[in-house]
C-alpha cells in the first residue's frame, strides 16, 4: 500500500498544499524546530498538571496516561462542515425515530425494511423499554458519530455511538491547549469556537426532563474516579455546574430519585449517566453491580427521572443494525441520506460470509457488539497466522461479525519521532438532541500514531488533534 493512495488532508495529489492549509503551512515553516519541540513538551507538561489523563485497564491498576496530543490541527473547510452537519442532524433524527419505533409500534419492522428478528433478538434490545414513553420521544440525547474520509476524500459514517460516547472533553481541552500554545495562529484563521458545548449540553439535558418539572436538577453519573473516562465526567459536571454523582450517592424512594447531600436528600430529575445499561440498577440488570442505584429502572419507567442517554439505545448503534441506517433515513424522514455508510458485509448472511472468507486479507472484520478496537481483524495488517486464526472464529460464529473493505483512511501530517509524517485520522462530532438537534462546529479528531496503523482508539495507542471548522 503506497502512501499516495491515501487522501492527505493537507497536501493534494500534485504535492501542493491545499488552500485551507496554506496559511498553517507557511506558519509552520517559519517556526524553528526547537520551538516546536519546546511547545510539544509544554503541551505534555500542561496536560499532566491539569490531570487530563485516562486510566488504562489491564496495566498497573490506577495508572494514568496522557492521550498524546498532536499540534498539527485537522482543518475542515466551511462547505464540507455544512454538509457534515446537515447529514449528522438527519442521521441522528432518524436514529431517534427508529429507537422510539422499535420500542413502540415497530412500523419499520412491519414494513419489512429491517428483519424483525435482527432487532428483537438483538442483545442490545431492551424489552424493559417496550411501551415506555420518554420525554420528547428522544433516546440518544448525546450521539458521537464516527466519520472517516477515504478514497478521494469522500466522508463515510463508520459507526454511530449512541450509548455513552466519550471524547468531547478532549475536543474542548485540545482547543484550549492550541490557543494557549499558539495564540497567533488563531489570528490567521477564523476557527469556529467550540466552547459553548457544555452550555448546549446542559440545555439539552434540561429540555428532556420529565414533563411537569419546572426547574430540573441535572447530575452527571460516573462509575468513579478509576474509570478510564473519569476526567471527562468530572470536567463536564464542572463545566455545566452540576453535581458529579456515583451510584452510592443516590437512592430511590417512591419512584423518585434522590441524592444524599450535606443538607439531606435532594431530588434528581435528569441523570446524564456515563455508565452502561447493565450497571444502572442491580435489582433490574446485573445483580453484582455496585455502581448502580437499586430501583432506578422502576423510577425511570414511571417517568419520574430522565436517563440520558435512554436505556436501550444500543439497539440502534449495534454493528448489525448499522447497515440499515440509510434505510431509516428514507423510511422515517422520506429523505435521501446525506452521509454514506461504509459498504458492509453481514457475516450472518451466507453470501456475505462466503465473500468475507474469500477476501479476509483485504477486509476489516469487526465484532458486532465490540467497541474500542478490541476483537477485530485488520486483514491487510495481520499476519497469515492471525488471519487463519480469525477464520476459525468467523466460521464458528458468523453472526457475531460484520466485515468492511479496508478503507484508505485519510491522513493528516502529524509529529512523530522522525519528524512530520502522514498518519491516519478519523472524526467524532457530537450531536445533541433535545428541544432541537444541535452540534458545535468541531469534534474530536483521533490519529493513529503508529505508521500505517488504522486504529485510532486511545486504548490502542491513538492520539488526538485539535479540529478546526473554518467559518465561511
Amino acid at each position: 500500500m503506497s502512501n499516495k493512495t491515501f487522501y492527505n488532508e493537507m497536501i493534494d495529489e500534485a504535492g501542493r498544499v491545499r488552500p485551507h492549509y496554506a496559511s498553517f503551512a507557511s506558519w509552520l515553516s517559519e517556526m524553528p524546530e526547537e520551538r516546536i519541540s519546546q511547545k510539544r513538551a509544554e503541551a505534555d507538561a500542561l496536560f499532566h498538571r491539569h490531570g487530563i489523563t485516562f486510566a488504562v485497564y489491564g496495566e498497573n491498576a490506577g495508572t494514568e496516561r496522557l492521550i498524546p496530543f498532536d499540534i498539527v490541527p485537522r482543518i475542515i473547510p466551511a462547505d464540507e462542515w455544512a454538509m457534515l452537519q446537515a447529514g449528522l442532524r438527519q442521521r441522528v433524527k432518524a436514529l431517534n425515530l427508529f429507537i422510539h419505533d422499535v420500542y413502540h409500534d415497530q412500523n419499520i419492522l412491519k414494513a419489512g425494511r429491517i428483519p424483525a428478528e435482527q432487532v428483537l433478538n438483538n442483545a442490545q434490545y431492551r424489552k424493559e423499554m417496550q411501551g415506555v414513553d420518554v420525554a420528547r420521544d428522544l433516546y440518544a440525547h448525546i450521539a458521537g458519530v464516527d466519520i472517516v474520509r477515504a478514497g478521494k476524500g469522500e466522508y463515510y459514517v463508520l459507526e454511530d455511538n449512541l450509548r455513552v460516547p466519550s471524547g468531547v472533553s478532549y475536543m474542548l481541552e485540545n482547543r484550549k491547549m492550541m490557543m494557549r500554545l499558539f495564540p497567533r495562529l488563531f489570528s490567521r484563521y477564523r476557527v469556529a469556537p467550540v466552547d459553548r458545548y457544555p452550555d448546549i449540553l446542559l440545555n439539552t439535558l434540561r429540555s428532556v426532563a420529565p414533563t411537569g418539572v419546572a426547574d430540573p436538577t441535572v447530575v452527571v453519573m460516573t462509575p468513579g474516579a478509576y474509570n478510564s473516562a473519569y476526567f471527562e465526567h468530572a470536567f463536564l459536571a464542572q463545566q455545566m455546574g452540576v453535581e458529579l454523582v456515583e451510584g452510592q450517592d443516590m437512592f430511590v424512594q417512591d419512584d423518585q430519585v434522590f441524592m444524599r447531600t450535606t443538607r439531606g436528600p435532594q431530588r434528581v430529575d435528569v441523570i446524564y449517566r456515563r455508565i452502561d445499561d447493565d450497571f444502572l440498577d442491580p435489582t433490574a440488570f446485573r445483580k453484582d453491580s455496585v455502581l448502580g442505584v437499586p430501583g432506578l429502572l422502576q423510577a425511570y419507567r414511571a417517568g419520574r427521572v430522565t436517563l440520558s442517554n435512554a436505556i436501550g439505545t444500543g439497539v440502534a448503534d449495534d454493528k448489525s443494525i448499522y447497515p440499515y441506517v440509510p434505510d431509516m433515513v428514507r423510511f422515517y424522514l422520506d429523505e435521501e441520506p446525506i452521509l454514506h455508510n461504509v459498504p458492509t458485509y453481514m457475516c450472518r448472511k451466507a453470501d456475505d460470509l462466503a465473500y468475507v472468507l474469500d477476501n479476509l486479507a483485504k477486509l476489516v472484520v469487526k465484532e458486532v457488539h465490540g467497541a474500542g478496537g478490541y476483537g477485530m481483524l485488520v486483514g491487510p495488517a495481520a499476519t497469515k497466522a492471525e488471519v487463519e486464526a480469525f477464520r476459525q472464529i468467523l466460521v464458528a460464529h458468523p453472526e457475531r461479525y460484520i466485515a468492511q473493505p479496508t478503507l484508505a483512511l485519510s491522513t493528516c501530517p502529524t509529529f512523530v519521532d522522525a519528524g512530520i509524517a502522514p498518519r491516519h485520522i478519523d472524526l467524532r462530532p457530537f450531536v445533541l438532541s433535545g428541544e432541537e438537534v444541535q452540534l458545535v462546529a468541531g469534534g474530536l479528531t483521533r490519529v493513529a500514531l503508529r505508521e500505517g496503523s488504522l486504529v485510532v482508539n486511545s486504548s490502542q495507542g491513538g492520539g488526538t488533534k485539535d479540529t478546526w471548522v473554518l467559518e465561511a
Binding site: 491539569h50 490531570g51 464542572q238 458529579l244 452510592q248 447531600t261 450535606t262 443538607r263
Partner: protein, 314 residues
C-alpha cells in the same frame, strides 16, 4: 452538596495539613540534630516524633532501632505508614481527584502538581541536598494550596468543609506537638528555665512558626507555661488550638443542618473554654491530662461531623 463530595474535600484538606505538620515536626528535629546534644537526647527527640503521631509501634515493627535516617525514611516515604508525608500528599491528591469538578482548576492543579513533584523525591536526595529544603518545600506547597483555596474558591459549603478539615487537623496536630514536647522537655520536678532548654523551647516554637510571634507577644524569656499558653489559648495565634476551634465553630455554623445542633454545641462549648481558659489553671491540673482530654474532644468533633454531614444517610 453531596455528602461524598464534602467528605473528599474535608479529607483533602486534613491530609494536606497533616503533611505540613509532619514536615514541621521533622524539620525541628532535623535542626536540633545539628546542635550539640547527647546521643540519648537525639534518640529521645526522634522517639518523641514518632509518639506525636502515635506511630511508635508501627515504626519498631518495621525498623527496629531508632535512627535519624530511618525515622526520616519512615515518616517521609514509607508506603506502609499511612501518615508518611508521601502518603498524606497522595491521599490529598486522591481526594481532590475524586471531586476535581468541585475544585477550582487552580486548586486541583496545585494539589495534583504537589503529588507529581513528591514522586520525584528520593531518600537519597534528602540525604544529599539536605532534608531541610524538602521540609520547606512541603510547608510552602501547603501554604500555596491554602492560599489558592482561599483566593479562588467560592465561599460556599465546599470551602467550609475544606476549612473544617484544615482546622480540625491542625488542632489535633498542635495539641500533639505540645503534649509530647512538653513531657520530653519538662520531666516532672525539673525547674523551668536554664540555657540548655532555650534551644529546645525555641525549636518547639519554630515548629509551629511561633518563635517570632512569641517574642512579639511576650517580649520576655521563653518559659514553658507561656509556650503552652501561646499554643493553647491565644486566639490571635494562627496555629493555636483556640484559633483552630474558633474556625471550626464558625465553619460548622455555616454548614449547619437539621441534625447538627449537638455537634455545633460541643464545638462552641470547647471554643468558649479555650477562649476563657487560664494557663495557670491548666498547668496546675496538669497539662498532659488537659491535652489528652482536648484531643479526645477534637476527635469526638471529627466523628460527629462525619456522622452529621459526610457519611451518606438516606
Amino acid at each position: 452538596m453531596l455528602s461524598r463530595t464534602a467528605d473528599h474535600l474535608y479529607w483533602m484538606a486534613r491530609y494536606m495539613e497533616r503533611a505540613e505538620n509532619i514536615a514541621r515536626i521533622l524539620d525541628v528535629n532535623h535542626r536540633m540534630s545539628m546542635m550539640p546534644q547527647s546521643a540519648v537526647q537525639q534518640e529521645q527527640a526522634w522517639g518523641a516524633t514518632l509518639r506525636i503521631m502515635g506511630l511508635e509501634g508501627a515504626y519498631y515493627r518495621s525498623h527496629g532501632e531508632l535512627s535519624a535516617d530511618n525515622v526520616l525514611a519512615f515518616m517521609v516515604f514509607d508506603a506502609e505508614n499511612p501518615s508518611s508525608v508521601r502518603n498524606c500528599l497522595r491521599a490529598a491528591r486522591e481526594n481532590a481527584h475524586a471531586v476535581r469538578g468541585t475544585l477550582t482548576s487552580e486548586l486541583w492543579e496545585t494539589t495534583n502538581g504537589t503529588w507529581l513533584k513528591m514522586r520525584d523525591f528520593t531518600p537519597e536526595m534528602l540525604a544529599d541536598s539536605g532534608a531541610g529544603e524538602f521540609f520547606e518545600w512541603v510547608k510552602y506547597r501547603s501554604h500555596l494550596s491554602r492560599g489558592v483555596t482561599i483566593g479562588t474558591m467560592l465561599q460556599d459549603e465546599s470551602l467550609r468543609f475544606i476549612r473544617l478539615g484544615t482546622f480540625l487537623e491542625r488542632a489535633d496536630n498542635t495539641a500533639r506537638i505540645l503534649d509530647v514536647k512538653y513531657q520530653l522537655l519538662l520531666p516532672a520536678g525539673e525547674v523551668e528555665g536554664g540555657a540548655a532548654d532555650y534551644h529546645q523551647w525555641s525549636a518547639l516554637l519554630r515548629s509551629v512558626s511561633a518563635f517570632e510571634v512569641y517574642r512579639k507577644v511576650y517580649r520576655d524569656l521563653i518559659t514553658p507555661s507561656r509556650v503552652a499558653e501561646l499554643l493553647l489559648l491565644r486566639v490571635d495565634m494562627p496555629r493555636s488550638i483556640a484559633r483552630c476551634l474558633k474556625e471550626v465553630y464558625s465553619n460548622l455554623q455555616a454548614v449547619a443542618n437539621d441534625h447538627s445542633a449537638e455537634t455545633e454545641r460541643r464545638a462552641g462549648e470547647l471554643e468558649a473554654q479555650l477562649r476563657f481558659g487560664r494557663i495557670d489553671d491548666i498547668v496546675r491540673d496538669g497539662l498532659h491530662n488537659y491535652v489528652v482530654r482536648l484531643l479526645s474532644r477534637v476527635q469526638d468533633l471529627g466523628n460527629r461531623i462525619a456522622d452529621d454531614f459526610l457519611v451518606p444517610v438516606s
